[in-house]
Amino acid sequence: MSDLGAYALRFALLIAIAGAAIAIYAGTSQRSDWLRVAERSLLVVFGFVTLAMGTLFAAFATYDYQLAYVASHSARNMDLVYRLAALWGGQAGSLLLWLWMLSAYGAACVGFNRRRNRELMPWVVAILLANAIFFLVLLVGITDPFEKLPPGAVMSDGAGLNPLLQHPAMMIHPLMLYTGLVGFVIPFAFAFAALISGELGTAWFRTTRRWTLFAWLFLSIGIMLGGRWAYEVLGWGGYWAWDPVENASFMPWLPATAYLHSVMIQEKRDMLKTWNLLLIGLTYVLCLFGTFLTRSGVVQSVHAFAQTPIFTSVFLGYVLITAITFVSALLLRRGQLHSTNRIESYVSREASFLLNNWIFIAILGWIFVGTLFPVFTEPFGRRIAVGPAYYQSLLGIAGLALALLLLTGVGPLIAWRRATFASLRRQFLFPGIALLASAGLLLLVVGERLTVYALLAWSLGGFVTATILQEFYRAIRARARKGGENPLQAFATLLRRNQQRYGGYIVHLGAVLVLMGAAGSVLNEERLENVRPGDEVRIQDYRLRYLTAKALPAKHYGGAVARIALYQDGNALAVMVPEKRMYWMQEQPASIPAIYSTVSEDLYVILTAVEADGSATLKLYRNPLVNWIWIGGFVFILGTITVMWPHPRRTTESSAQ
């Protein structure tokens, strides 16, 4: 049965090569009948890749340990759900997943564009197939998920999956992340197609607007899920460690966000054409590069997969070829990419958006250099890694993020072309007062525990929130006066009629909440305590009484669980049960924290060790405002969905959609 999958992949490769050649021919000869053939070949590739995925899922489900990949990533003691998810737990399977997503996006793109974009589609199809060919070559030639073990080496049980991956968030985290990372191939393909075909108007990005938002949404979700998983499972009290693989997923997000903003400038003022093409090219190249980084072991990380040198060179070659061909096309067309307008004033929306873009790129550069520092320093003798201070100091990413926060409030309100003093006063008087009031309140209430960063983050957060509230208030009031709608109706109408603007405000609000929640870490408290049964520990107004520790019931993991009673002001709140697990097969320990969450803070307890004398060593964290990160995340997601939501009425207003 798995043979079927192996043949399916090989057949798909042949079809993809033929299809790409036909697409190129269709593009150069403008033959729409050959274009249809090329489009159908993309659908056929999707069909065969789906078949291959299906057979691999079946192999995992039926314990087919003949396959080396199944044997090394699953075991009989795993539940079906985790066995299926183990498909993307290793190198070959995750590449197959990537390929499947790529072909799925391609098939959907072909479907949606049956009657549209006919000038661009030949090149779009060619580029999608070219990318598919690369992954097919990898899967057929270098890391074959259907590779069989020699008959004597087949065991009756598998090696199992890294236990830290056997968690719901980890099961869907790769799916979310890939839906995001792979999805950027669509706007990239359209951008490349625009360059090749010479159709350099706004069509290429307007037609891919929802695709880009969709990919960006899932990339954002994937990043947040990764953070939530780290918080819940890795047991170090935090959610982001600037690990190279974490950075690999975050780096494409930065130019993608910059791109989403700057295309608005191109639409409104016909500027930044080259810049937008560069941004989407950079985004996609970083998606590929990020996945390369995760797999190649070029930088040490908790996540990195195993690989061979040939894989590394082939993948890196692919990333470089993609970048070089795209930039070459851009250079060839630079004569046709002049803007019709220029920036007229530094105090304008165009300038704010441009500054926003530069800051995103600056943050990207900072993270890029930091992530690859060991690679840069290796030729000089020693591999040097940067530490956390590089990413956290104010005169760096933190400061840039604050500048971005300020712009989030200023950008949407400031006038186009040139803001007059009167318009500035009208727009920013209330938010300005909110800024000063927030700062004053913070200094009063939090006082000396406040750092510069936290003060600015929370005050600017207040500023941006005030701008958003002001915008909604004014618009709702105007609608109420004009059309007699009640506030709720008016609110809904705004989100429907002007989804980009008002949905965008909700997204900004989500981002602000995330930043404000993250800034809460300046007030974090942590303690290490050794306690005997019956001992109590106090932290703030919480009282924790250590009750007992017991052995975990024997499963595929063992270890100990502590029981700790939690009180606050005399009220019994919960019994916290942190675990220290040992996964027998992999000899891998894991600290699963017990978390008591409220809107204002988390109490986070780790069972560090059960000591030989019967006492327990506990690590306690109090993390104020941390849940505002996840709440902000949800608001962010809701806002993005609002921006993306298709409204039937709008088909006449935006014909190029």
Binding site: S72, A159, N162, G235, W236, G297, Q300, S301, V302, H303, A304, F305, A306, A362, G365, W366, V369, R382, R383, I384, A385, V386, G387, P388, A389, Y390, S393, L395, G396, L528, N530, Q586, E587, Q588, P589, A590, S591, T608, A609, E611, A612, D613, S615, T617, K619
Partner: protein, 154 residues
């Protein structure tokens, strides 16, 4: 000034600022890290004199003592992996880590990097570690999923 010139000037300015920042704020010890093998460490004069350094090695079998009363963990670091050594290990370094909070992966035979300094006492010297990082012992399929966990005192 042509646009190209403006862009080049801006980019150069930013690159210079970043270089200045790197040079002044990221001196070794603060943000950068690199380590010595146990042999290198024991031969390095400045390390013997008590300079803050990082040492790589393996936890000697049977050497871990968790002292609950003193809230510290004592262990010995050797230069070769215990399962690969032939005969007695050539070099041994006694380490004292001033916290009970050792990383998850810390156990006998684990590959570790300890950060701290050599201190001399009456009964010989020991390495006072303020940071202990442990790596997952490599598995049979050679999967270098470098599960590295760290514990530090601050």
């Amino acid at each position: 000034m042509s646009k190209g010139f403006q862009i080049a000037a801006g980019a150069t300015l930013i690159a210079l600022l970043m270089a200045w920042y790197a040079a002044t704020n990221l001196a070794p010890g603060a943000a950068f890290t690199y380590y010595k093998s146990l042999d290198e460490f024991q031969n390095a004069a400045d390390a013997r004199a008590g300079k803050h350094s990082r040492v790589h090695g393996y936890v000697a079998l049977g050497s871990i003592e968790r002292d609950v009363a003193a809230m510290q963990v004592r262990f010995t670091v050797q230069g070769e992996p215990p399962h690969a050594q032939q005969g007695a290990p050539s070099a041994l370094l006694p380490v004292v880590f001033g916290s009970l909070e050792t990383p998850d992966l810390f156990k006998e035979g684990a590959e570790v990097v300890v950060e701290g300094q050599l201190v001399q006492t009456q009964d010989g010297g020991h390495f006072r570690a303020d940071k202990v990082m442990a790596k997952c012992p490599s598995k049979f399929e050679g999967d270098p999923s470098a599960d590295t966990r760290a514990a530090s005192l601050n």
